[in-house]
């Protein structure tokens, strides 16, 4: 299993390079927006990746609530952290795109707005994890994750309807998409997903080690003869 990691690392690096090339050079230039549109290949796959990661967080949290396995808790933590990072990418690339094209820094379009709310929900999840004491964190966080995940459909529905009443500039994906662009989009998504998986895996190992260290400390004090320093 451990040897898989470097192999996957190399594959991911290759994919990322290829995806970058395709996004910046390989993909056809968009007719109205020109080269600025290429940020689309970062903006959209990041959003999809974040969404998948939050779904993983939901699943892991459910598993934890039912089975109380530490591994599930760690998967939940890891997927939330990496998911927030990808959400941040979406929220940063959005304005970078919108500014040259529409002259505005922000637009309440569907993807950007729902990503913002998702970002807020999962950042609050990370705050909860940090601010609660270690014994209760997994349970409380799992409960919050379930509530947050259930909120997601409401987020999408409410913003969708709001947008139909108050139309906003739409950032990409409105209407049909050129198949060559779709191809580049999917390549980027694959590359990002592999990268996300690698980062999650690393983080998971780190967290596991950290917990083992804490466990060892506690065990050491467990075995400590009377009178020794804790």
């Amino acid at each position: 299993m451990k040897r898989l990691f470097p192999i996957l690392g190399v594959v991911t690096a290759a994919l990322l390079v290829y995806a970058l090339y395709m996004a910046l050079i390989g993909a056809p230039t968009e007719q109205t927006m020109g080269n600025v549109q290429r940020i689309f290949y970062y903006h959209v796959p990041s959003a999809w990746t974040a969404f998948v990661l939050f779904f993983v967080n939901f699943g892991a949290s459910l598993v934890y609530l039912v089975k109380r396995k530490a591994a599930a808790d760690m998967v939940a933590l890891v997927s939330a952290e990496v998911g927030v990072v990808f959400c941040t990418v979406v929220l940063v690339t959005g304005p970078i795109w919108a500014r040259p094209v529409w002259g505005i820094w922000w637009t309440w379009d569907m993807r950007l707005t729902s990503t913002l709310v998702l970002w807020l929900i999962y950042v609050s999840y990370l705050f909860l994890r940090r601010f609660s004491s270690s014994g209760e964190t997994p349970t409380l966080a799992a409960a919050l994750a379930v509530l947050g995940a259930l909120c997601v459909p409401f987020v999408y529905f409410s913003i969708w309807f709001f947008r139909t009443q108050h139309p906003q500039p739409v950032m990409g994906g409105g209407g049909s998409i050129d198949p060559r662009m779709l191809h580049v989009l999917l390549i980027n998504w694959l590359a990002f997903s592999c990268f996300a998986f690698l980062v999650c895996w690393s983080r998971y190992r780190l967290e596991k080690l950290q917990r083992e260290v804490d466990q060892a400390h506690a065990l050491e004090s467990l075995m400590a003869p009377r009178g020794s320093v804790r």
Partner: protein, 230 residues
């Protein structure tokens, strides 16, 4: 006639409770018979409160097993346990009778007569309309004890019931507890004022650094064993 040996009412096996890097309970194993008054003694940080709260179902052990009244799950026997701690577990703004009236309902007891009965048993006046917040510490602790006795529990868990209590009230409480023990209750009492229990307690359980280091009939600290990794 064959005498059946008295049943073990509480059994703990290798109880470990970890708070982050600190282990409050480091492998506590013991069996306790019914109908006895156990005084749990030890310095601060010895794990007395943690042990009591674990028995009360307020703490989940990190590992190890507990069996209370033959059941491993606290939920099944919670109606048979009474708990009391240094905070009064009462509402300051209500009178004694109102407080007990409410807590009685939590146990499914609807008669006010029972509330009046326990209040009298601890030597207080059920008619007293003064809010509990204005009681003296001794009265408050006695009222808290009355609350713990409401459901006529088979097991009483008392955490520092005499702290800051005047000698008179404390003596009253000890006499009451001895009577309850004689009536068949099993009582676990954590205290720093062991002298109050001389003559009343059946056994003194000595704890240090998260372990039970000895059990004596008399109030005499057991000879300290040399460092032993259990």
């Amino acid at each position: 006639m064959i005498e059946t040996p008295p049943a073990h009412v509480v059994t703990v096996t290798n109880l470990i409770k970890q708070f982050g890097r600190f282990a409050a309970l480091r492998g506590v194993s013991a069996e306790f018979l019914g109908g006895k008054l156990y005084a749990i003694l030890g310095d601060n940080g010895a794990g007395k409160t943690t042990l009591l709260r674990t028995l009360a179902g307020l703490n989940r052990p990190s590992s190890g097993r507990i069996s209370i009244l033959g059941s491993g799950k606290f939920h099944d026997i919670c109606g048979q346990v009474g708990y009391m701690a240094h905070p009064s577990l009462l509402y300051d703004e209500m009178s004694g009778m109102e407080n007990l009236g409410y807590f009685a309902r939590l146990f499914g007891i609807t008669s006010d007569a029972r509330c009046a009965e326990v209040i009298r048993a601890v030597g207080l006046d059920p008619e007293l309309a003064r809010p509990v917040g204005q009681y003296s510490q001794g009265m408050r602790q006695r009222m808290s004890l009355a609350r713990a006795l409401l459901n006529d529990p088979k097991i009483l868990l008392l955490d520092e019931p005499f702290s800051n209590v005047d000698l008179n009230s404390a003596g009253e409480m000890v006499r009451l507890l001895a009577r309850e023990r004689d009536a068949g209750k099993t009582i676990f009492l954590v205290t720093h004022q062991a002298s109050l229990l001389e003559g009343a307690a059946d056994e003194f359980v000595w704890m240090e650094f998260g372990r039970i280091i000895g059990r004596t009939r008399e109030l005499k600290r057991p000879a300290i064993a040399e460092e032993s990794a259990t």
